[in-house]
């Protein structure tokens, strides 16, 4: 993404004009836009007009509109970002306050006005516009009969295609069905690779699996490349990396990102950092549970005492429509930084971010143990971790089981 213009006042209000260039930029914008922000962008509007004779016609007009944002939707697969709100700019075609939906487009400027550009929002802009941080990787995680062809960028893991082909198993005296099925499977993965991977852009292509699936797939790919004289594949052969992982499910990307050969090849990626931090959290929870906490209440308490060494939060928390919630977490982030702690904002589009999100979205590794935190408010935390509806259900169940 390119930063075209930035103008922010002392009171933190102001605007930023940006030029999105790729799919990941849409994700950044999705994380930037909040309800009540104002968005100015070019858009298409269907205009009804009535002619002098009274017959009405409709036509599509491209125009620039400003809206006050009410809802934001993002489809990472399609890279489609839709923002809905009321029109706040005068226009010859559109009435003020009428509703309009903007589908944000690549390669066109847009301007975002905020009453308050907080730390997280400003960092997001900075991050998004830093081209040195770009490191796209294609990863195929597979097991016999299952493959996930993924694109991993700094902030996103997108499953481009999930291939699931039943492979007949070996049977006494006959392995032909099995071997044919396997061949078909490798071919499907090969086709998906050609379709979804842009070899000019990706820094590496990782093939990961348990057992020998990765080796067999790799051989299949290059056998085909030779047969079909695919120069693109041959030239990119050094970019391929075979890595062990425990399954073909998307979760396995966590293992892949932690693999030494992947780390060496891709240097420091955000995804790998997040996996490592979350791992460290779990190890701490095991070895010294008084130094590892999750859930806002516990973490905030640890912060009050200046005990947080590493704070992990998911970006989902900052997308909250509720301003107070967002502010609450920003204060936490700023507090941790002020006392010298490190803050990692996890992307919920990465596997680790998904996991952290389910673990209340916030966790911390402390620099010193705080054994009394847990006892202080056991009950409160129990409540906090529940979506109330589910909780009451569960209690009934527990009763039923005689728990």
């Amino acid at each position: 993404m390119k930063l075209i213009k930035k103008s922010i006042e002392k009171d933190k209000s102001g605007y930023v004009t940006l030029y999105p260039e790729e799919l990941e930029d849409m994700w950044h914008v999705y994380n930037l836009i909040q309800t009540e922000d104002q968005l100015k962008a070019t858009t298409i509007r269907r205009i009804q007009s009535e002619s002098a004779t009274g017959s009405s016609s409709s036509q599509r007009v491209r125009l620039t509109l400003t809206i006050v944002v009410e809802t934001v939707d993002f489809d990472p697969q399609a890279g489609l970002l839709r923002i809905n709100g009321r029109v706040s700019s005068e226009s010859q075609y559109v009435k003020m306050n009428s509703y309009h939906t903007i589908d944000l487009e690549l390669n066109r400027n847009f301007t975002l006005f905020k009453n308050e550009w907080d730390t997280i929002a400003l960092e997001r802009v900075e991050d998004a516009c830093d081209i040195t941080k770009q490191a796209d990787v294609a990863a195929i995680v597979c097991q016999e009969g299952l493959a996930n062809v993924c694109l991993v960028t700094q902030h996103m893991t997108i499953v481009r295609q999930r291939i699931e082909t039943p492979i007949p198993r070996k049977r006494k005296g006959s392995v032909t069905n099995y071997e044919k099925g396997l061949g078909r499977f490798y071919d499907q993965v090969y086709q998906a690779l050609l379709r979804h991977v842009n070899f000019d852009v990706v820094k590496g292509i990782i093939i990961a699996s348990p057992g020998f699936v990765k080796d067999q797939l790799y051989h299949y790919i290059f056998d085909q490349a030779v047969k079909t004289d695919n120069k693109m594949l041959m030239e990119n052969r050094p970019k391929f990396l075979l890595v062990h992982c425990s399954s073909g499910h998307k979760h396995s990307l966590q293992e892949v990102m932690q693999d030494d050969s992947v780390k060496a090849k891709l240097a420091d990626t955000k995804a790998a950092r997040e996996v490592a931090a979350l791992d460290k959290f779990y190890v701490m929870l095991n070895n010294d549970p008084d130094r590892a906490f999750y859930g806002f209440k516990h973490v905030a308490k640890a912060n009050e005492r200046g005990a947080i060494g590493t704070l992990m939060v998911t970006d989902a928390l900052f997308r909250s429509a509720d301003i107070a919630t967002r502010r609450k977490y920003i204060e936490l982030v700023e507090g941790v930084r002020a006392s010298g702690g490190q803050v990692l904002v996890f992307s919920t589009l990465h596997v680790s971010g998904e996991q952290l999100n389910q673990l209340t979205g916030v966790a911390a590794i402390l620099t010193f143990p705080l054994p009394d935190i847990e006892e202080e408010d056991e009950e409160e935390v129990a409540e906090e971790n529940d979506d109330t509806q589910a909780n009451s259900d569960e209690m009934d169940v527990a009763d039923d089981l005689g728990l």
Partner: protein, 534 residues
């Protein structure tokens, strides 16, 4: 799939009873009280319905016992176009067959290279299941690729990749008979990468042989934290296997040393008993898979018999007890394999698996869940022999007509159309946490293994930790679960719902294994299904 009958639904959510003991002690269950437990869950009279294959007389009484109309134990005849004259009285046939020779499924497990495939290959050869000619051929071919020591293993390792690498990758199925029983043999891969296949095989097994490499350093390597010996043993136990033979293998390479045998027996015995095996159901047998010693025959003059006066492997295997089969429950078969084309290159779709409950016969309709598509059984095989019917416990291959292969997937359960298995994406399970490196928290992503299926899922909530002995809650809403703990949790499938039953309704389809990063983190039983529908 079609909606669950509301009555069934009501039963699942509220009929949990107070059998907390069994809930908690599912790793210490034994056949008898498990059956009682199942019966109690169904509110059925215990006595008359007990079907023990070992006691065929009781079975005949079942055929004439009117069964109550409880939803989960219907006496429904699947809509079949079989004329009554041709209909098989399966329960009567089953009793007949069982009084002749009972059928059992046996899985062979153990660390990679312990000698499982060699041992079983040799065993099958010694029993006459594999011809002299075949073995000689394998010897020649194996030698050609420099793998001559694997000739017997080739009986089971049939794919090119397996033979070249000398590693079993998927379950191999075979069958053999002893004096009093018929066995389906499942040779499992030992390598940790293929544990999903091993689970799929072990889920079908009644009994197990654990193979141990007795050579210096190798027993230790298999037994330590990174070895597969312990994980395999825990897995089969968690999957309901209670009787196990430990084959202490490769003793030929240890000069048939008694101290070594005793050392292994002692170390392993302690662990296995901790893991929930009963001493009376564990047997240690010294063998050599390579030389064939003490598999079926005892060679005179072999130093082993200076100190070993016990049974051969086959004698011991013959003494495995047939487990109680759920013959009177609605028909269910978790599909472990399927492919286009019927048996003997006829048309249709072939489906293989072990019948978990109930029975079927040729001509009957079955429904594939999820999906709800119905097919008719055209032909079938039980243990590789043509059959007209199959019952709980049987390893079956059947040809179905009228069913599109696209409707099948790994994880499909074939059911009687009158009572299909529930399909769910959220359920409550009681877990026993294995020896894990990091604790389990809510949000923990796992791979859920259920029969032959493995699917990504998450532990979305830790409900309570439980005292294993008393069944009482230790802590509600625990922050995390550490190794060895017992807990109830809520689990949610990430991608799609799967067919699942509560442990009370079906002890095979009610068990799950949870793995993460290539390690088994917990075993569990399904206590409640929270959402229904596909």
């Amino acid at each position: 799939m079609s909606k669950q009958p509301s009555q069934q639904h009501a039963k699942v959510t509220s009929g949990q009873g107070k059998s907390t003991d069994e809930d908690v002690e599912f790793l210490e269950d034994d056949d008898d009280n498990q059956m009682d437990f199942d019966m109690a869950a169904l509110n059925l009279g215990e006595k008359k319905l007990k079907i023990a294959t070992a006691k065929p007389k009781k079975v005949s009484s079942i055929a004439s016992t009117p069964v109550s109309s409880q939803p989960s134990s219907p006496k429904v005849t699947p809509l079949a176009k079989i004329p009554p004259s041709k209909r098989v009285d399966v329960e009567a046939e089953y009793a007949k067959r069982t009084s002749d020779k009972a059928k059992l499924n046996m899985v062979v497990i153990g660390h990679v290279d312990a000698g499982k495939s060699t041992l079983m290959g040799h065993f099958l050869y010694a029993l006459g299941q594999v011809s002299e000619k075949t073995i000689r051929k394998y010897e020649r071919e194996a030698q050609k690729i420099g793998k001559s020591s694997f000739a017997y293993a080739w009986v089971l390792d049939e794919t090119g990749e397996e033979r070249i690498r000398g590693i079993t990758m998927d379950i191999a199925t075979n069958s053999f008979e002893t004096t009093s029983k018929q066995f389906t043999l499942l040779d499992a891969p030992g390598h940790r990468d293929f544990i999903p296949n091993m689970i799929s095989g072990a889920a079908q097994a009644d009994v197990a042989i654990l193979v141990i490499d007795a050579t210096t350093g190798e027993f230790e390597a298999g037994f330590d934290a990174n070895g597969q010996t312990k994980e395999h043993a825990l897995l089969v136990r968690s999957l309901g296997v209670q009787q196990m033979i430990v084959a202490v293998n490769k003793l030929d390479a240890m000069e048939w040393s008694k101290p070594r045998f005793d050392e292994i027996t002692a170390k392993l015995g302690t662990f296995l008993i901790q893991a929930g095996f009963r001493k009376s159901k564990l047997h240690f047998v010294p063998v050599s898979g390579l030389t064939g010693e003490n598999l079926v025959k005892k060679t005179e003059g072999c130093p082993l018999y200076d100190w070993y006066k016990g049974q051969t492997l086959v004698e011991r295997v013959d003494q495995f007890e047939p487990p109680v089969r759920l013959l009177d429950k609605p028909f269910r078969m978790a599909v472990s394999d399927f492919f286009k084309g019927g048996i003997g290159s006829s048309s249709g779709v072939s489906v293989a698996g072990r019948i978990d409950a109930g029975h079927v016969q040729v001509g009957e309709q079955v429904v594939a869940i999820p999906g709800g598509e119905i097919g008719v059984i055209k032909t079938m095989q039980v243990n590789d022999d043509t059959a007209t019917w199959g019952a709980a416990g049987d390893s079956c291959l059947m040809t179905l007509t009228g069913l599109d292969i696209m409707q099948l997937s790994s994880g499909t359960v074939l059911c009687t159309p009158a009572h299909p298995v529930p399909v769910t994406s959220t359920f409550i399970a009681q877990l026993v946490v294995f020896d894990i490196k990091v604790p389990i928290t809510s949000g923990f992503p796992i791979i859920l293994h259920h029969q032959s299926l493995n699917e990504p899922a998450s532990i979305v909530k830790l409900i309570a930790t439980i005292d294993k002995a008393t069944g009482e809650i230790i802590k509600k809403n625990p922050r995390h679960l550490s190794k060895g703990s017992t807990a109830t949790v809520r689990i949610k499938l990430d991608n799609r719902p799967i067919p699942l039953e509560t442990f009370k309704d079906n002890k095979d389809l009610g068990r799950v294994m949870l793995r993460k990063g290539g390690e088994t983190v917990a075993a569990g039983v399904v206590t409640q299904i929270l959402t229904f529908g596909s």
